[in-house]
C-alpha cells in the first residue's frame, strides 16, 4: 500500500512543478511541501521496514526486547523455517501468481468489452446496460445465494476459477473505463476508421485499445492488486489445501493466533496450541514474502499511472 501512496505523492509533486514554471512558489513553501511529503512517505514506508527488520530478528531477542528497527541480533531462522516448511508456501505463491495474471487479463477483457459499447453514442441500449451494471453496485444478492451460485449453479468450488470468476466484472471499474473511452476516443477517429473500411472489432482492438493504454494500465493495476490481495474467495470456496493462495495462508496463520490470544477460545489446550504456532518473526517473514512480487507491478504500471489516475476525477 505504501508505494501506492508514494505514487500519488509523486504525481502531485509533478503537478506542482508544472505549475511553478510560470508562477514559481517561494523556496520556503517548496521546502515545506517537500518536508510534508517526505514525512508522508516515511509514515508509509517505516512499517514495511519494521516488518522486514522483525523478520530478520532473532526470536529470543524479539521476545525479550520487543520490536526494533536495528535488532541486537540478526537471524535468518524465520526464513529458514518458512522455506523449509514443505512446499505449501511455494505452491501458494504459484496459485497467487497464476490467479493474478489470468484474472487481470480476463477481467480487463470483460470490463473493456462491456465498457466500450456503452461509451459509443450509436449504441441504442447503452442506458439500460449502464443501469444494469449500476444496479449491482447498490443491490447484492446476499452471502448464501452468492455462495450457491458458485457452488451449485456454476459448480467451480475448489478450482482455480472460483478465485477469478467472481471478480471478473466490476461495475465501478467498468464506469471509469467507459468515461475514459468517452473522453479519449473522439467519435471522428472511429468515423475515419470506418471510412477506411475497418470493422467494429478492428476499430476496437487496433485503434481504441492502444489509445487507451493509460486507462487500461490503471484498471489493470487495480485488478492485479485485487486479485493478489484477495483472501476472501479462498476463505469461502477453497477447501483443498493445494489451492490456497499466499494471502490466504497468511490470513489463516495470523487469524488463528489472534483468535487464540483473544481469550474467547475457552478450551484447556489453547495455550499449548498457541505456543506451537509460527513465531512472531516467522509470521513477518511470510508477510515480507507476500509483498514480494506485487511490488514489481508498480514500476511497470508507473508510466501510465499518473495519467490514469486523473481520468475518474478531473475529466470525468
Amino acid at each position: 500500500m505504501g508505494s501506492m501512496v508514494e505514487g500519488k505523492k509523486r504525481s502531485i509533486l509533478k503537478v506542482f512543478k508544472r505549475k511553478s514554471i510560470g508562477n514559481r512558489i517561494s523556496p520556503v513553501n517548496n521546502i515545506l511541501i517537500n518536508l510534508f511529503f517526505i514525512m508522508c512517505s516515511i509514515v508509509c514506508i517505516a512499517p514495511i521496514l519494521l516488518i522486514i527488520a522483525i523478520s530478520f530478528t532473532d526470536e529470543k531477542v524479539l521476545l525479550v526486547k520487543g520490536y526494533n528497527f536495528f535488532p541486537e541480533k540478526y537471524s535468518v531462522k524465520a526464513y529458514d523455517y518458512v522455506i523449509t516448511a514443505g512446499d505449501t508456501i511455494w505452491r501458494a505463491y504459484g496459485v497467487s501468481i497464476l490467479v493474478t495474471l489470468l484474472g487481470t487479463v480476463l477481467s480487463l477483457m470483460v470490463i473493456c468489452l462491456y465498457a466500450y459499447p456503452l461509451s459509443r453514442q450509436s449504441f441504442k441500449y447503452r442506458n439500460f446496460f449502464s443501469f444494469f451494471a449500476y444496479f449491482t453496485m447498490i443491490f447484492g444478492g446476499g452471502l448464501v445465494p452468492w455462495y450457491m451460485v458458485y457452488t451449485q449453479l456454476i459448480p467451480i468450488k475448489n478450482t482455480i476459477w472460483v478465485m477469478i470468476v467472481p471478480y471478473l466484472m466490476n461495475a465501478w471499474y467498468m464506469m471509469i473505463m467507459r468515461t475514459f473511452f468517452k473522453t479519449t476516443i473522439h467519435e471522428s477517429i472511429i468515423e475515419s476508421a470506418k471510412i477506411d473500411g475497418a470493422g467494429e472489432f478492428r476499430i476496437f482492438f487496433v485503434i481504441v485499445l492502444p489509445l487507451c493504454r493509460a486507462g487500461l494500465a490503471t484498471i489493470g493495476l487495480f485488478c492485479t492488486l485485487g486479485y493478489w490481495n484477495d483472501w476472501w474467495l479462498p476463505l469461502m470456496f477453497i477447501t483443498e489445501h493445494r489451492l490456497y493462495n499466499i494471502q490466504y495462508l497468511m490470513y489463516q496463520t495470523l487469524n488463528s493466533i489472534q483468535y487464540l490470544v483473544s481469550g474467547s477460545a475457552q478450551f484447556a489446550e489453547s495455550a499449548k496450541i498457541l505456543a506451537e504456532l509460527p513465531s512472531e518473526s516467522a509470521r513477518m517473514a511470510i508477510a515480507v514474502l507476500s509483498i514480494g512480487p506485487i511490488i514489481f507491478a508498480y514500476p511497470f504500471f508507473q508510466k501510465y499511472f499518473v495519467k490514469g489516475l486523473t481520468i475518474g476525477a478531473v475529466k470525468g
Binding site: 529470543k60 521476545l63 525479550v64 523449509t84 514443505g86 512446499d87 505449501t88 442506458n127 439500460f128 443501469f131 444494469f132 444496479f135 444478492g141 452471502l143 448464501v144 445465494p145 455462495y147 450457491m148 451460485v149 457452488t151 451449485q152 449453479l153 476463505l235 469461502m236 477447501t239 489445501h241 490470513y251 489463516q252 496463520t253 487469524n255 488463528s256 493466533i257 489472534q258 483468535y259 487464540l260 490470544v261 483473544s262 481469550g263 474467547s264 477460545a265 475457552q266 478450551f267 484447556a268 489446550e269 495455550a271 499449548k272 496450541i273 498457541l274 505456543a275 506451537e276 504456532l277 512472531e280
Partner: protein, 511 residues
C-alpha cells in the same frame, strides 16, 4: 422516455425474479436430500451391519479445526481408508481449517447452503454449536445413540446429557478431561533456586510471599504474567452464563441459583484491590494492561508465574511447547461445567447423505484404538515409533509430516498412546481428576441470546473498556469500579441478568 424506463424496469424485475427462482431451484434438491436423510430414523434403515465390500464405498467428508492441513494427510488417509474399507466400507476425506474465523466461516456457510458434509467439529467456541444445533443444521443423534450404545457407555450419562440441548443430543463430546480447575504455572528453575514450598498454595493470596522473593532477588524477572483475559481473575472461576466478557455468572460451588454480575461481585472487587496492591509492589508489569499474548510472554522466560487453566500434566505439556520448565500449582477445586461438556464435539450436519455411516465411524473413534491413534499420530515408523506397548516417541516432531495434535478433538482420548516424556499414569490421573470434579448446577443450561442482543453487545463494550485496567491493577479500584458499574447499568446489565435468571429458572423447573 418514462415509458421506455418502465419497460426496462419490468425486464429488470423479471430478470431478478428469474434469478431468485433459479437459485431457489438449485437449493431445493440439496435441502430435500438433506432433510430426507436427516430425518431417517435408524429403525428405517435396518441394514446396519452391511460391510459387504462389493458395494461402492461411502465417502465421508470431515471438517476439523487445527493449525494446518498436515502435509502427509493423504498418506495417513490412505492407510485409514484401507482399514475402514473392511470395517465399515467407507472412505474418509479429512479437511483441517485454521482456528477462529476461518473454521467458523467455512463451516457456517457450508451448513447454511446445505452442503453434504458428513462430520464437523463443533464446540461452544468453534462453529457455534448452540446456534447451529438450534437452527436445525445438525442431525439429532438420540436414535443412533440408542441403537449403538457404546458411546453412551464410554461417556457416561452425566457428561452426555450436559452436552444435550433440551434433552436432545446433536453432537458427541470427546472423552477427555471432563472438569477444569485453575492455578499457577511457576518457572521451575526459580522455584528450585529459592527452595519454594508450593504445596500449601490454596488461595490466590497465598502466592504473595513467593512473588516477594522474586521481586527482591530477581530484578530481570517480572513476578506475574498477565495478558488480556489470562489474568489471576480467572482463579475466581466464575461459572459464566455467556461469553468471557459478558456479565452474568453463578458461584462455582453450587451455593445458590442466583445469577449475579460477577465483574462487580465482592470477591471480584477484592481481587481488583489485591491486583492494585501487587501492581504497586511491582509484581505486575506496568504495561500489562496492553499486553496481548500470555504464551509469547511466558516463552520469553522473563516471567515467574502465570495463571492457567489446568489439568493433570499441564506443566509437562507447557514445558514441551514453550521450551521453559514449569511447575504446576493447583489452586481452585475441579468443577464440571458447560465449558467442558461442549468444549469439543463432533456433529453430523443435516446435509449429510450418510448420517448412519458417519455415526458408525464416530463410534469407531471411541472404540478403535488403532484408528484413533492412526489419525492422531500418523503412521508407525514414519511419524512415530513405539517404545513400548502404549508409549511412543515422535520422529523429528519439528519437521514431521503429520503431527496435528488432534487427540482431544474427537473420540476417546484415553485410547491415545502416551509420549515418552509424559507421565505413564497420565490417563489414570485424568480419570481420578474427573471423579474429583464437582458437577455444577448449571450443567446443560444454554443461554439464548436473542432477546437481549443489544444489552449483550453494549455490556461487552463496557467490559472491554474496563477489564484490563482492573485485572492488572493499573488503576485505583474504587472510582473505576464505580464508573464501571454506572456504565454497565446504562448498558442494560440489569435486564440482561434478569433475562438470564428467567431462562435459568425456567430450565431448572423443566428438568
Amino acid at each position: 422516455m418514462s415509458k421506455t424506463k418502465r419497460i426496462y424496469s419490468m425486464i429488470l424485475i423479471t430478470l431478478l425474479a428469474l434469478t431468485l427462482i433459479l437459485t431457489g431451484c438449485a437449493k431445493l434438491p440439496a435441502a430435500d436430500t438433506g432433510s430426507g436423510t436427516g430425518t431417517t430414523t435408524p429403525s428405517d434403515s435396518g441394514d446396519s451391519g452391511k460391510t459387504k465390500t462389493d458395494e461402492p464405498a461411502v465417502k465421508l467428508t470431515w471438517y476439523l479445526v487445527g493449525n494446518r492441513q498436515e502435509p502427509d494427510t493423504p498418506k495417513v488417509l490412505e492407510e485409514a481408508n484401507k482399514y475402514l474399507k473392511d470395517k465399515l466400507n467407507v472412505t474418509l476425506d479429512l479437511y483441517v481449517f485454521g482456528w477462529g474465523d476461518e473454521y467458523d466461516q467455512k463451516v457456517n456457510t457450508a451448513l447454511a447452503a446445505g452442503e453434504p458434509i458428513d462430520i464437523v467439529f463443533t464446540a461452544n467456541w468453534a462453529a457455534n454449536y448452540n446456534v447451529n444445533a438450534a437452527s436445525g443444521y445438525f442431525t439429532e443423534l438420540n436414535g443412533y445413540l440408542a441403537k449403538y450404545p457404546k458411546i453412551k457407555e464410554i461417556l457416561g450419562e452425566d457428561f452426555l446429557n450436559g452436552s444435550a440441548i433440551n434433552g436432545k443430543n446433536y453432537a458427541l463430546p470427546t472423552n477427555k478431561e471432563k472438569v477444569h480447575n485453575w492455578g499457577w504455572l511457576l518457572k521451575k528453575d526459580l522455584v528450585e533456586k529459592y527452595n519454594m514450598d508450593v504445596s500449601n498454595i490454596k488461595t490466590i493470596e497465598a502466592i504473595e510471599p513467593l512473588l516477594k522473593i522474586i521481586r527482591e532477588n530477581e530484578p530481570e524477572i517480572t513476578p506475574i504474567c498477565i495478558a488480556t483475559m489470562d489474568a489471576p481473575f480467572q482463579l475466581l472461576d466464575w461459572d459464566r452464563i455467556s461469553d468471557d466478557d459478558v456479565p452474568g455468572a453463578l458461584y462455582p460451588d453450587n451455593r445458590d441459583y442466583k445469577i449475579i454480575n460477577h465483574f462487580l461481585a465482592p470477591e471480584s472487587i477484592e481481587l481488583y484491590k489485591l491486583m492494585r496492591d501487587w501492581a504497586n509492589k511491582g509484581y505486575i508489569h506496568p504495561d500489562a494492561a496492553t499486553m496481548q499474548n500470555q504464551v509469547e510472554l511466558m516463552k520469553s522466560g522473563k516471567y515467574f508465574a502465570a495463571s492457567q487453566s489446568l489439568k493433570p500434566g499441564k506443566d509437562a505439556e507447557m514445558t514441551a511447547s514453550t521450551g521453559i520448565e514449569w511447575v504446576q500449582v493447583d489452586v481452585t477445586r475441579p468443577v464440571m461445567s458447560n465449558r467442558e461438556t461442549t468444549g469439543a464435539l463432533l456433529a453430523i450436519p443435516a446435509g449429510s447423505k450418510n448420517p448412519e455411516k458417519a455415526f458408525q465411524f464416530i463410534e469407531l473413534l471411541y472404540t478403535d484404538k488403532y484408528l484413533k491413534n492412526l489419525l492422531n499420530y500418523g503412521l508407525e515408523n514414519v511419524h512415530y515409533k513405539k517404545i513400548s506397548d502404549n508409549v511412543i516417541e515422535l520422529i523429528d516432531p519439528a519437521n514431521s509430516g503429520y503431527n496435528p495434535g488432534h487427540g482431544w478433538k474427537f473420540g476417546d482420548q484415553f485410547k491415545d498412546y502416551l509420549m515418552s516424556n509424559e507421565d505413564p499414569q497420565k490417563w489414570e490421573k485424568f480419570l481420578a481428576y474427573n471423579d474429583e470434579g464437582l458437577v455444577l448446577n448449571s450443567l446443560g443450561f444454554v443461554f439464548d441470546k436473542t432477546n437481549v442482543e443489544t444489552q449483550i453487545s453494549s455490556c461487552k463494550n463496557v467490559v472491554q473498556a474496563y477489564y484490563k485496567q482492573l485485572f492488572t491493577g493499573a488503576v485505583e479500584v474504587e472510582p473505576t469500579v464505580e464508573q464501571f458499574a454506572k456504565e454497565l447499568k446504562e448498558a442494560g446489565v440489569d435486564e440482561l441478568i434478569a433475562e438470564m435468571q428467567r431462562q435459568y429458572d425456567e430450565w431448572r423447573n423443566s428438568k
